[in-house]
Amino acid sequence: MLEHQLIQSTGFRNFGPVGAREGFAIRIRIPNYHGTRLSQLDGFDVTVDGVYYDHEINRFGIRDEVYTMAEMREETTARWGLAEWGEILVDKPGGLEPGVHKIEVLARIRYSYFPPDVHIFPMHAERYGTICIA
């Protein structure tokens, strides 16, 4: 099962070849009370140790697929279930140092049943997470 909070402990990791890491991943549960089409998400702003990574650039992985922001905005078939995790993929050559990091995520979820001017609803979560392997 998932962890209770949005940002999961497990899955916080570097990706890319060891010695030439390309970035890091943050595993999250869906920032919503129900599953949705991927097009109902408008990306994730990430801040780690005070460094900001914009939602337009971060990618999203679920199951065996990775989506750019542009692809996710048009993805009306693939869905994210309530009990599934996804991961935010953040480019950062070299990755993160092993150890504890302060993670902030601002998930931008779209609700058709919210008024148009606030229909992209920000959901903020923060916590400490640990990178185990360089």
Binding site: S39, G81, A83
Partner: protein, 302 residues
């Protein structure tokens, strides 16, 4: 004497716990142990593999209904009107969303389907296409024995053109397969301290004034009761003395009883999302609502 209420619980009550510290079977156990007879679900939530659940899931679903002696009440669904940032659903596509959910609700044994329509304004006026894509599905809803019921939810009060629009639709079409769902959050008369997993700060309060309660007079329920088919018993915090901190249940129950409503009160806990808190909050609400119904029936208040 008016009929008795039926008591149910929505799995929405267990958001955040569900899938982390609670399985589907745990939810059935918690719901059945309140003495409830009905389970309400979030379609794209509890249905694994939505919108095409596997036969294994269906077997499990019906097995759980049987084991815990619960009946499916309402299934919540959403019409993703703003399908992408670039475009809205057409009427045909909206009709297809609703058809998909009607068939799925029926397959799982639900009698009510609550679609969330897209809205255009801060008082939640639905986008105008709702009427056309709903009307196209009325015959199907009739064949399946499912009642479509959009919810009247804060910040929309009962005396409002949103509600008038739905009632006009019922009167114009003469349908028995469309009705109103009332969310009891509209009766909230004291401010919330938490909304979901967040403590409410002054900033949020400024942007979402309805968090302080829109204070619909419970008597207004009587004006629309003939159209009400389902009640989501929204609440946020009930203390150890069974005092609800936000919803004035006594006059609310009085009005609902006097209307003759004998359908479901389906618990929707929407308070602080600390792990496991929801479970006992739901139990407190059931104790409170049953106590008030009993006292009303005994003539202890009117």
């Amino acid at each position: 004497m008016p009929g008795s209420f039926k008591y149910g619980v929505s799995t929405y009550s267990y958001v955040d716990d569900y899938g982390s510290v609670m399985t589907l079977e745990d939810a059935f156990d918690h719901i059945a142990d309140t003495g409830a007879t009905g389970i309400e679900i979030l379609g794209e939530g509890q249905i694994e593999g939505f919108p095409n659940p596997s036969s294994q899931f269906l077997d499990r679903w019906f097995g759980l209904l049987d084991k815990y002696k619960l009946e499916p009440t309402n299934m919540c669904s959403w019409v993703d009107m703003r399908i992408t940032l670039q475009r809205n659903l057409t009427i045909e596509e909206g009709a297809a969303e609703l058809e998909r959910d009607l068939r799925l609700a029926h397959q799982l044994g639900f009698k009510f389907l609550r679609p969330k329509f897209g809205v255009l304004s801060h008082d939640l006026m639905p986008e105008p296409q709702w009427e056309a894509y709903t009307e196209r599905n009325l015959e199907l809803a009739h064949e399946l024995g499912v009642v479509i019921c959009p919810e009247i939810h804060a910040p929309t009060p009962i005396k409002h053109e949103v509600v008038d629009g739905y009632i006009n639709f019922i009167e114009r079409t003469g349908t028995k397969n469309f009705g109103l769902m009332i969310d009891t959050g509209i009766f909230q008369d004291r401010p919330l301290t938490h909304w979901g997993s967040h403590q409410i700060n002054e900033e949020a309060r400024k942007h979402m004034e309805f968090l302080n309660g829109i204070k619909v007079p419970p008597e207004h329920f009587l004006d629309v009761a003939q159209y009400v088919v389902f009640i989501q018993a929204k609440f946020h915090d009930i203390d150890e003395n069974l005092e609800d901190q936000n919803i004035p249940w006594k006059p609310v129950i009085s009005a609902i009883k006097r209307s003759g409503y004998s359908g479901y009160l389906s618990s929707e806990y929407e308070g602080w999302r600390a792990p496991w808190r929801s479970i006992d909050q739901v139990r407190r609400q059931h104790a409170l609502l049953r106590k008030l119904e009993r006292e009303f029936d005994e003539g202890k208040f009117a």
